[in-house]
């Protein structure tokens, strides 16, 4: 029982924020988990960041869910990118050798082509994704939400479980 109460408290805390910036940041962090293979050290750090910073946690979960299929789809591209950087690029060999022989950094698995390729793609996509998501959410709230809220379908949905996932897009009032 204390464990369940603890988890409830954790999720209550996580769901308390929801500005467009927070949602966009949440989606960006979630995209890391979706794009890169999950069982890696950098994802633990990203998960901790999502929990500890005031990003929208539901958005984080949504970003993760949305980018998992993208990750699967683009795995061959990630592999090619990682291959070209790890194997074919002689100039970077000293960097990789240093990382490979450094405590903790060696645990990141960045010496795997897919892990490195997908992580770098996520890094490159993070800022455009953040800006795009932030603008999208703001525009949605300004132009779409009010009209949508008055429809019967929305009212029906609001009564369902799906709504609780949708609430992260709802404007926060604090």
């Amino acid at each position: 029982m204390p464990l369940i109460a603890l988890l409830r408290k954790l999720f209550k805390t996580l769901n308390s924020d929801g500005t467009p910036a927070q949602i966009a940041a949440g989606i960006v962090l979630g995209a890391a988990l979706g794009l890169t293979p999950i069982a890696n050290l950098h994802n633990l750090i990203i998960l901790a960041a999502a929990v500890l910073t005031r990003v929208s946690f539901p958005a984080f979960m949504l970003g993760w869910a949305l980018f998992v299929p993208v990750g699967f789809l683009f795995d061959p591209v990630f592999h090619s990118l990682g291959q070209s950087l790890l194997v074919d690029s002689g100039t970077l060999e000293a960097t990789w050798t240093g990382m490979y022989n450094t405590p903790v950094l060696a645990l990141t698995n960045f010496n795997n082509t897919v892990v490195l390729g997908s992580f770098l793609v996520w890094c490159a996509a993070a800022i455009p994704l953040y800006v795009g998501a932030r603008i999208g959410v703001a525009k949605y709230r300004r132009h779409v939400y009010e009209r949508l809220e008055r429809t019967r379908l929305f009212k029906a949905l609001k009564a369902s479980k799906i709504y609780k996932y949708y609430t992260m897009l709802r404007p926060e009032l604090d």
Binding site: L86, P103, L173
Partner: protein
């Protein structure tokens, strides 16, 4: 990021919270404690499952290496003390699934904790006790599903042993009429080689005919003739002032023509040299005909079942299988060592971890003076060898065993000897060094066995077997780079020839010759490339048998061999003669054409140079430029 919301409000209003300040503006401080507790709980669950994870990891890796099931009864991991204990390890034999290749009672490893942060496993000490070999299994050790890499080393080794040619010992062909009509010309290597040489000679002829046609000298020769004709009309004793200019032009044009003729001549010399090179290559092919003929003699003799009774051929026929059976595990071990202890300091590419996503490629970047990915600094193995009712205790000491020898910088050394205080009839000693610290690997192994049963040798068509009894055996192996040199010797002085069936008169003679021998001195040498070594087998038995057969059957075998040679020679003679004549014809044809062109060019060039000298002399000095 937080607190930046100034969007219009809709829906039900919540009670407004006070704006967050300081760290709280960016961090959810309330989440820290629950997160830490959650992580601690997750860690605790992981620790609870660690024993099972290690046990399954060892089983999976072991089965990948051996190609058969590897079972671990129990794993006990004390991660904070760096101690790993495995009990009841049984690795099945891929060739005999109801038997264990090796069984280990307990293995205790002390692992350094710091290097684990670099994903490196450094085992300071490994103590292995209760090692036994060839123990029976209660259930099959065959794998239900094999991956592409499972047992790859074992398959390579099986292919080598299957493909190694071991001549059979058989005397059945002797005493029978030799049916030389069975030798077909199409099957003879000499015929195929001669036909190929003829084709190559035709190609060479065509090529050089075209080359010489392309070298068109007629234009230069015609121009020269025209110039000679025009200059011949001039009376050199009376050259008028008007004619001086014309003569001067003739000399200048003539000099250009000389240069042009010389260029053609040089090109012709170059072509001639190139042709000679090509032709000599072709002629060298004729030398291969002699080697091919010897191969054909051997092939025809084997087809007609005329056995060789020379000692170098009898050795492999009698002991070839024994040599293969003893050498194969050594080669297999070398192959495994090469695969898992790669020499030099190279990037190592391996498949990424198995997962739902694409595995990708994991690249290892070794660096000198760092820790290798896996290192066993010192391992001590206590093992029982010999029959189950009379086991003998041995100890194996291994130092510096690593997957990255160049990083570690020291060779792996191992020594197997009887445990201190142990006694028994047999003595076994193994010492070795595996030095893969540089690009060129250098391995040495010495094995000495004495007082042990040496096994039996099946004697094929002789309907019997040879029990070697007890004796001494020695293996000295050196491998440097791709080259292997292995010498195995057997010295047995209490042979027992065991008859198992009926024989022909001739086979009985051989059997009686062999049965009079009570001592074996056998030497097997494998040398050459480690992946495909040549075998040489010599023994006192083969020598004695060869002499006896020479005395008894020498004349008959020599007659049969002469008949085979004559039949082979008859079949190849016309092909060989045609190849030789075609090759000679190419040379004479092309050389004749080159000589003709050279003669024509030399003739007109000499004539032109003489005429130019006379024209130049006839003109006043200074008219013709130097």
């Amino acid at each position: 990021m937080a607190g930046s919301n100034n969007e219009p409000s809709t829906g039900t209003r919540k009670k407004a919270k006070p704006p967050a300040r300081g760290l709280k503006k960016y961090l959810r401080l309330k989440a820290i404690v629950p997160l830490v507790i959650f992580l601690v709980l997750a860690g605790a669950v992981w620790l609870l499952l660690l024993d099972s994870i290690v046990r399954r990891g060892v089983e999976w890796t072991g089965s990948q290496l051996t190609g058969a099931r590897v079972d671990v009864a129990e794993a006990e991991v004390r991660p904070f003390a760096g101690r790993f204990v495995l009990r009841g390890i049984a690795a099945a034999d891929p060739e005999a699934p109801m038997r264990n290749l090796i069984e280990i009672g307990e293995a205790v490893a002390d692992v350094r904790l710091g290097p684990l942060l670099e994903k490196k496993i450094i085992i300071d000490t490994l103590a292995v006790t209760g090692v036994r070999f060839g123990t029976p299994r209660t259930e099959s050790g065959a794998l239900e599903r094999r991956s592409a890499t499972t047992g790859a080393a074992a398959r390579r080794f099986s292919t080598w042993t299957r493909d190694l040619p071991i001549p059979a010992f058989s005397l059945r062909g002797l005493g029978e009429a030799v049916n030389v009509s069975a030798i077909s010309a199409d099957s003879l290597r000499t015929v195929r080689l001669a036909n190929r040489l003829v084709t190559e000679a035709d190609s060479l002829q065509e090529h050089w005919t075209a080359e010489l046609s392309d070298l068109d000298v007629s234009a230069e020769i015609d121009s020269t003739r025209a110039l000679l004709e025009r200059s011949g009309e001039i009376n050199l004793r009376r050259i008028s002032l008007r004619q001086i200019e014309a003569v001067r032009d003739l000399v200048v044009s003539g000099r250009d023509l000389v240069r042009s003729l010389q260029a053609k001549r040089d090109r012709l010399t170059e072509l001639s040299r190139s042709f000679q090179d090509g032709w000599h290559d072709l002629r060298d092919g004729l030398g291969s005909l002699d080697e091919a003929r010897d191969v054909d003699y051997d092939w025809a003799r084997s087809q007609l079942r005329i056995p060789s009774i020379e000692a170098p051929d009898l050795g492999p026929a009698l002991f070839g299988e024994m040599a293969r059976d003893h050498l194969a595990p050594v080669l297999r071990a070398l192959d495994t060592v090469e695969e898992h202890l790669p020499p030099g300091l190279k990037q190592k590419l391996e498949p990424g971890p198995k997962r739902l996503r694409l595995a990708g490629t994991t690249v290892r970047f070794p660096r000198r003076a760092e820790l290798p990915a896996l290192l066993l600094e010192r391992g001590e193995f206590s093992m029982s060898l010999g029959p189950a009712d009379r086991p003998e205790a041995y100890e194996l000491l291994v130092t510096g065993l690593t997957t990255e020898p160049a990083v570690y910088g020291e060779p792996t050394r191992f020594r197997l000897a009887r445990a201190s205080g142990g006694a028994g009839e047999r003595t076994l000693q193994v010492t070795g060094t595996v030095d893969h610290t540089t690009e060129v690997p250098h391995d040495t192994v010495t094995v000495a066995l004495a007082g042990a049963g040496m096994g039996e040798v099946a004697l094929g068509s002789l309907s019997g077997r040879l029990d070697l009894g007890t004796g001494e055996s020695m293996l000295r192996l050196t491998r440097s780079g791709p080259e292997l040199d292995a010498l195995m010797t057997w010295e047995c002085s209490a042979l027992d020839w065991v008859s198992t069936g009926q024989r022909s008169r001739l086979e009985q003679f051989v059997w009686e010759t062999l049965a009079g021998l009570d001592r074996l001195s056998l030497e097997i040498r494998a040398s050459g490339l480690a992946e495909d070594p040549r075998l040489r087998v010599t023994s006192n038995i083969a020598g004695t048998l060869s002499r006896a057969l020479q005395d008894r059957l020498g004349a008959e075998i020599r007659r049969a061999e002469a008949e085979v040679r004559r039949a082979v020679n008859e079949r190849i003679a016309s092909y060989e003669a045609r190849a030789r004549s075609e090759i000679d014809a190419v040379r004479s044809g092309v050389e004749e054409r080159i000589g003709e062109l050279e003669g024509r060019l030399d003739e007109v060039k000499a004539e032109l140079e003489a005429r130019l000298r006379r024209l130049t002399d006839a003109l006043p000095p200074g008219i013709i430029p130097p």
